[in-house]
């Protein structure tokens, strides 16, 4: 018998052993919508607005550092202008365009007031791109509903 026939037969038999062995094992598939896949601590989705636990007011002071640090420039924040014509220390609006967000965490790192946090809720898909535009109330509500998590290791710049 030529050597190549033997070689081919042995190698093909080895391959079939692997597939049969795997066939008799338990499948590794997880049925996603029924069994939600848990995220590891530190998983980040979009930045959400934190509120003070006692007063319930947002920590944000509308300083705009997050907007300046954002690479795709998708954070739109403006401070309230009072009756006296001076800018106040809280935001008039805070909008986030999720459709362009890179979830890079740079805005959280830029914030000096601990007003932003990365949320772990990643099931934010929508049928219309306009639904991916989040305003201040929605972002604050997301922080309350979705457990936001600190970055892994607990260390922060």
């Amino acid at each position: 018998m030529p050597a190549w026939i033997r070689r081919a037969a042995v190698s093909i038999a080895k391959g079939h052993r692997v597939t049969l062995d795997q066939m008799l094992r338990r499948p590794i598939t997880s049925l996603y919508p029924e069994e939600p896949v848990p995220h590891f601590p530190g998983f980040r989705s979009i930045p959400v607005l934190k509120a003070n636990e006692e007063t319930g007011k947002l920590n944000c002071t509308a300083c705009g550092l997050c907007a300046r640090s954002c690479p795709p420039q998708i954070i739109f924040v403006e401070s309230v202008v009072g009756d006296d014509g001076r800018r106040k220390q809280w935001p008039a609006f805070f909008n986030l365009d999720l459709s362009r967000c890179m979830v890079c965490n740079l805005c959280v790192e830029a914030c000096p007031f601990d007003a932003l946090e990365m949320s772990a809720d990643n099931e934010l898909s929508a049928y219309d791109v306009r639904d991916l535009f989040f305003n201040m109330e929605e972002l604050a509500a997301l922080w309350k509903t979705a457990p936001a998590v600190r970055i892994a290791g607990g260390q922060k710049r």
Binding site: G15, T19, M23, P27, I28
Partner: protein, 323 residues
């Protein structure tokens, strides 16, 4: 009492319907089985969501989906050739069943030249492939059809020669007779070379990996049925899986002793053996990579053909010495 010719016609129609039902049900089960086997080989679950035990209703859902699809026709294709190709693919696969005994006396027409009839009818599949490839007016389809044509021609020959050795050994072309001659010993043992050649050839004829060059997904998208959709594509699939069933039943009849087996009725044994062979074909499909066209030709003409000729010579010498 009905006139004789009408009885004859009605019986024919009834038999045809029964065969069609048997083939369709089996093909649907096979499509589901292929998905389950491939799924479990790949550590997946396979179809599950549609319902039934282990998602067995998936194939029915697919048929409904395919029936509801748009009947697409390539604008510059050849309409008649294009329209006829799926039927030409499915009809021979069905016709083989009229001479294929599923159990003792469980056959539509027990032909004396059954084996010859099967060999002749299965050659038609190359025609359907070529019609589909040519009628689509698509380069992928054309290359796929050319490949499949060359492949089917060159594997037809070793397969037929393997069956010639079987005929030499048993002395008959009637399949029921061949099964009857295997009561002492299954033909796979004295005719192992013929079995090997026939089974490899059958996998190649069926266009299954590692010989699925006609529909080589990674380079030809879907080969000769690239342009088909909806129910026409389903006819190709049905034909393919019917062919898988026929060749597995044929191998189990000719080489594995057919309906000989203890306890269970004969037709159950045939189906058990056939489904075992089908599983092996699926197992091979989901394990091996695809060969190249020149390697395929080499294997067919330089290995299988000499092997089958050698087998005929050996069988002839053995028969002469024993006689």
């Amino acid at each position: 009492m009905l006139p004789l010719w009408l009885q004859w016609v009605l019986w024919g129609i009834l038999k045809a319907v029964l065969v069609l039902l048997f083939v369709t049900v089996n093909a649907i089960i096979l499509i589901w089985l292929e998905r389950k086997v491939s799924g479990h080989i790949q550590n997946r679950i396979g179809p599950l969501r549609v319902g039934g035990p282990a998602g067995v209703l998936q194939s029915f859902a697919d048929i409904i989906k395919l029936l509801a699809k748009e009947d697409f026709f390539p604008k510059r294709g050849d309409p008649w050739v294009w329209w006829l190709a799926p039927s030409v693919a499915f009809a021979p696969a069905l016709m083989v069943f009229f001479v294929l005994p599923i159990g003792p006396h469980l056959v539509v027409q027990d032909m004396n030249v059954g084996l010859l009839f099967i060999v002749a009818i299965t050659s038609f599949s190359v025609l359907s492939v070529f019609m589909a490839g040519w009628g689509s007016n698509d380069k992928y389809s054309l290359i796929g059809a050319m490949r499949a044509g060359a492949q089917l021609f060159s594997y037809e020959l070793p397969m037929v020669l393997a069956l010639v050795a079987v005929t030499l050994a048993t002395g008959t072309l009637n399949i029921s007779e061949i099964v009857a001659r295997q009561q002492g010993m299954w033909l796979i043992f004295p005719q192992f070379l013929a079995f090997l050649v026939f089974y490899i050839g059958a996998i190649a004829e069926l266009n299954r990996t590692p010989f699925d060059l006609g529909e080589a997904e990674s380079e030809l998208v879907a080969g000769y049925h690239t342009e088909y959709s909806g129910i026409r594509w389903a006819m190709f699939m049905l034909g393919e899986y019917t062919n898988l069933l026929t060749s597995s039943i044929l191998v189990s009849l000719v080489f594995l002793g057919g309906w000989s087996g203890p306890l269970l009725p004969g037709w159950v044994w045939v189906l058990i053996k056939a489904y075992l062979l089908i599983f092996v074909a699926m197992w091979i499909r989901w394990t091996l990579p695809r060969v190249r066209i020149d390697q395929l030709m080499d294997l067919g003409w330089k290995f299988l053909l000499p092997l089958s000729l050698l087998n005929i010579a050996l069988t002839g010498v053995y028969m002469a010495v024993m006689a």
